[in-house]
C-alpha cells in the first residue's frame, strides 16, 4: 500500500527497518527530519538502538566509525557544512574500510550561507573513497538505503546515499515502504571481520609508511571498482523482493531512439521527463540517470550512451576555475567509444534555484546544431544582475 510520506520520514522508517544499533547525528544547518524520526522510534521503543546526539558532525562520523568498528551496524545523516566538517573522518572511515551508511541530504556549501539544494557537498567528497549513490525519487531513496547497507557490508566500504535536500527530503510523495520481513530477509545480521574484539585483538588504523601505502590505496581502488558488481546485484536482488529497481549503476530512460542524451544525478530527472512529456513538439531525449557516481561506471555509461550524437551533462555543482565536475569524467569515459557523442556540460539549480519545466527546452536549444561542445556555463545564472566587472 502506498503511503504519503515526507522523504525524511520515509528514510527514518527505512533506516529503522535496517536495524542499526548505533545512530549518531548533529543538527548542523537544519538537519533533516531523518534522525529526528529515528530518535522518536528509539524513544517509543520501536527500535533497539543507541541514539547518540553528538556535539558536532565531526563526532557524528566518529561515533559511527567507532560503533561499526566495535561490531554494530551504524548510521548517520548529514549535509552541506556537516559533510565538510566530517571530511577528515570520512576519508578515514573509507581508508579503514569500515562499512557504514550515511544519508547526504544534498545542499549547497557556504559562503555565502545558503541552506538549499545543490550537490556541491557530496561532490566535494568525490575522492573520499566512499561509494556515492544518487536518488531520483524518494522511493529510490528508500530502496537505495536498504541496498546500501548490504553493499557497504559486503564490500567493506562506506556508502553515501545522496538525496536532494528539500526537493526530496522535505517533500511528500506516495511511496511503498518495505516490510520488516522483506528487509530482514535481504539484509543479514551485521558483521565486520576486522572488528575490535578482545578475544582476537587487532590494531586498526596503524601508521602505514611509503613501503605499504600505495598498496593500501590500490586495494581500496580495486574494492571500489569491484563494488560495481555488488551495486547492480543488490539492486537486482532487492527488485526480486519488492518489485522495484533503482537503475543499478546507470540507467537509460526516455526515448531510446533519441540522438540527444541528458545525463543527470538526483531528482532533476523527474522535472526533465515531465517537461519532455508535456510538449510533443520538443526534441526527444534519452535520459541517462547516473546513480553510481563512485564507483564511476565507465563501461555501463558507454553502453547507455550508444548511438547518441550529443550528450548534455547537467549537474548541480561545479569546480570554479575549471567547470563541471561530472562532465569531464563522462567525456573521458566516452572517448573510448567508436563514435562518442559531443559532451556539453552545464550546471543549474545551484543553492536551491528552482529548476522549472522550461529548463529542458533551454538546454536542448543551447546545444542544438552544435558542431563542438558548448562551453561550460551555469545555464540558469543571470549575469545581468551582476556588476559589469563580475559578468
Amino acid at each position: 500500500m502506498a503511503l504519503a510520506l515526507e522523504g525524511s520520514q520515509a528514510l527514518a522508517r527505512t533506516v529503522a527497518l535496517c536495524r542499526p544499533q548505533v545512530v549518531a547525528a548533529y543538527p548542523i544547518t537544519p538537519q533533516t527530519h531523518i534522525v529526528e524520526g529515528i530518535a522518536k522510534l528509539v524513544a517509543d521503543g520501536h527500535l533497539a538502538c543507541e541514539m547518540v546526539s553528538v556535539e558536532s558532525e565531526h563526532s557524528a562520523a566518529s561515533v559511527a566509525l567507532g560503533a561499526a568498528a566495535a561490531g554494530s551496524r551504524a548510521y548517520t545523516a548529514s549535509a552541506s557544512q556537516g559533510i565538510l566538517l566530517m571530511a577528515e573522518v570520512l576519508y578515514d572511515i573509507s581508508g579503514l574500510r569500515i562499512p557504514l551508511v550515511m544519508t547526504c541530504a544534498n545542499r549547497a556549501l557556504s559562503g555565502p550561507l545558503n541552506i538549499w539544494n545543490d550537490q556541491q557537498d557530496s561532490m566535494s567528497m568525490r575522492d573520499s573513497g566512499w561509494i556515492q549513490l544518487y536518488c531520483a525519487t524518494n522511493q529510490e531513496a528508500v530502496d537505495t538505503t536498504v541496498q546500501a547497507f548490504r553493499i557497504a557490508e559486503r564490500c567493506e566500504l562506506p556508502v553515501m546515499v545522496c538525496v536532494d535536500g528539500f526537493t526530496l527530503t522535505h517533500t511528500l510523495e506516495p511511496l511503498e515502504l518495505p516490510t520488516a520481513e522483506q528487509v530482514d530477509g535481504f539484509l543479514p545480521v551485521y558483521s565486520f571481520r576486522h572488528g575490535l574484539d578482545p578475544a582476537d585483538p587487532r590494531s586498526l588504523g596503524t601508521l602505514v609508511g611509503p613501503e605499504h601505502f600505495s598498496e593500501v590505496r590500490h586495494a581500496h581502488h580495486q574494492a571500489m571498482m569491484r563494488a560495481q558488481t555488488e551495486i547492480e546485484q543488490a539492486d537486482a536482488d532487492w527488485a526480486a523482493v519488492v518489485g522495484r529497481h533503482c537503475g543499478g549503476l546507470v540507467e537509460a530512460r526516455g526515448d531510446p531512439e533519441a540522438r540527444l542524451g541528458i545525463l543527470t544525478l538526483g531528482s532533476v530527472l523527474g522535472t526533465l521527463e515531465d517537461a519532455m512529456d508535456s510538449d510533443p513538439e520538443l526534441p526527444r531525449a534519452r535520459f541517462i540517470k547516473l546513480r553510481s557516481f563512485r564507483p564511476f561506471p565507465a563501461e555501463a555509461l558507454r553502453r547507455a550512451c550508444e548511438g547518441l550524437d550529443h550528450l548534455i551533462v547537467l549537474e548541480r555543482a561545479l569546480s570554479p576555475g575549471a567547470g563541471g565536475i561530472v562532465g569531464p569524467e563522462v567525456q573521458t569515459a566516452l572517448i573510448e567509444m567508436a563514435e562518442p557523442p559531443r559532451v556539453h556540460n552545464y550546471a543549474a539549480g545551484l543553492g536551491g534555484r528552482d529548476l522549472s519545466l522550461d529548463l529542458y527546452s533551454r538546454i536542448v536549444q543551447a546545444v542544438f546544431g552544435a558542431e563542438r561542445p558548448r562551453e561550460f556555463a551555469i545555464i540558469d545564472a543571470e549575469p545581468d544582475l551582476l556588476p559589469e566587472s563580475d559578468r
Binding site: 549518531a24 538502538c49 562520523a61 561515533v63 566509525l65 567507532g66 560503533a67 573522518v89 578515514d92
Partner: protein, 330 residues
C-alpha cells in the same frame, strides 16, 4: 653451565607477573614517559578492553605497519576525534550487551586542544569511557610545538625565547577544572613517578560507571630536554614542587591528593630540563619568570592543600595518598 639466553622473549614474557597490553619492542625513545604511562595503564586495565587512540607519538611508535605493540583491540582514527570514536565503541558494546570496557588514549594536544570538543561531548553524554591524557606538555610527535598544556615560560619550537619573549607567554590550561565542571563520576591526575597510585586510579576509573578522566604527567626526554635516565626523577620533582598536583575528584569535588611532605623549589625541577634553560640566565626577566613559576607552584599547594606531614614515602601501595572522607578505595 646451561645458561638461558638473555633475549629469549618468550621466557621473559612468561615471567611477567601481569597482563601486558602494550608489549616491548615498540619504537619509543629511551626514557619515554608516555610509553611507561601507557604500559601501566593497560596493565591495570586488563585484557577485556578496547582502545581508541588519538594521533600522536603513542600511535606512531606502537604501530608501524605491519608491526603492532598492542595486545589489545586498538583503533586509531584521526587526531581530534578519539573521545567520539570511544563513545561510538561504548554505544555499540552497550547495545550488544557486552561488558568490555572502553579506553581512550590521547596526548595533551588531543585532549586540551584539538580533541577537547569531542571530549567535552563524550563526558556530557556520560559514556562509560575512561579517557586517559598522556600529558607531555607539547606536540612532541610533530617536533615539540607548544600546546594548551605547555607550562608557562617553557621553550618549544613555537614558543622560543628571544629578545622579546621568555618562552610560552600563556599559562598551562587548567584542564582538570574544566573536566570538574562536567561533574563526571571520577577524574584524577597521576604521574609515572608514582606507578601504584596510577594503577589504582585506572582500576578505580574502570570500576566507575560513566565517563572518567585520568591525566598522567609523562615526561618527554626529547621535548623537555632531559636525560632519558632521569624521567622518573623529573616526573617526581614536578609533583614535589607543586607544579603538577596529583589529585582525585568525584563529581567535580576534590576527594584526595598526593601530599607533598617537603616541597622542593621549582628550580630543582626546571634546571634538569633544557626547555627551561633560558630561565637560568643571569638577567632580570629570567629571575622574574622563575619567581612566577614558584608562585604558580605555591598556589597549587595552597589551592589543593597539598602540604603533608612526615617523611616522603614515595610510592608504596597507597600509603602516600590522603583521602578526605569516605572509605579508602585501595
Amino acid at each position: 653451565m646451561n645458561e638461558q639466553p638473555l633475549h629469549d622473549l618468550d621466557t621473559l614474557r612468561a615471567r611477567q607477573p601481569r597482563f601486558r597490553g602494550l608489549e616491548s619492542g615498540h619504537r619509543a625513545c629511551q626514557g619515554c614517559g608516555e610509553a611507561l604511562a601507557a604500559r601501566l595503564t593497560t596493565e591495570a586495565a586488563g585484557p577485556d578492553v578496547v582502545v581508541a587512540n588519538a594521533t600522536g607519538c603513542l600511535e606512531v611508535f606502537t604501530t608501524p605497519w605491519p608491526q603492532s605493540a598492542w595486545r589489545l583491540p586498538w583503533i586509531h582514527s584521526v587526531f581530534g576525534n578519539t573521545a567520539a570514536v570511544a563513545a561510538g565503541m561504548e554505544a555499540a558494546l552497550k547495545q550488544q550487551g557486552r561488558a568490555t570496557q572502553v579506553l581512550a588514549f590521547a596526548g595533551d594536544g588531543g585532549t586540551f586542544d584539538i580533541g577537547f570538543q569531542a571530549l567535552s561531548g563524550m563526558m556530557e553524554r556520560g559514556h562509560d569511557v575512561l579517557f586517559v591524557c598522556f600529558d607531555n606538555e607539547a606536540y612532541m610527535n610533530t617536533g615539540v610545538q607548544r600546546s594548551g598544556s605547555t607550562p608557562h615560560a617553557a621553550m618549544t619550537t613555537t614558543s622560543p625565547p628571544g629578545e622579546l619573549r621568555m618562552g610560552k607567554r600563556h599559562m598551562k590550561k587548567d584542564i582538570l577544572s574544566i573536566i570538574a565542571a562536567h561533574h563526571i563520576p571520577y577524574a584524577a591526575t597521576a604521574s609515572v613517578a608514582y606507578p601504584s597510585d596510577l594503577r589504582k586510579k585506572v582500576r578505580r576509573a574502570m570500576d566507575t560507571e560513566g565517563a572518567s578522566f585520568l591525566q598522567i604527567h609523562s615526561p618527554c626526554p626529547l621535548g623537555w630536554g632531559h636525560d632519558g635516565a632521569k624521567t622518573i626523577e623529573v616526573a617526581r620533582l614536578a609533583v614535589q614542587t607543586g607544579l603538577f598536583p596529583v589529585i582525585e575528584m568525584e563529581r567535580g569535588e576534590l576527594i584526595g591528593t598526593l601530599p607533598i611532605r617537603e616541597p622542593r623549589p621549582v628550580s630543582d625541577y626546571l634546571k634538569l630540563q633544557n626547555r627551561f634553560r633560558h630561565l637560568f640566565a643571569s638577567e632580570y626577566r629570567a629571575r622574574k619568570e622563575l619567581e612566577h613559576l614558584q608562585a604558580i607552584a605555591n598556589r597549587n599547594i595552597e589551592r589543593f592543600e597539598l602540604r603533608g606531614v612526615g617523611p616522603e614515602t614515595y610510592d608504596t601501595e597507597g600509603a602516600d595518598t590522603v583521602h578526605r572522607g569516605g572509605d579508602r578505595w585501595a
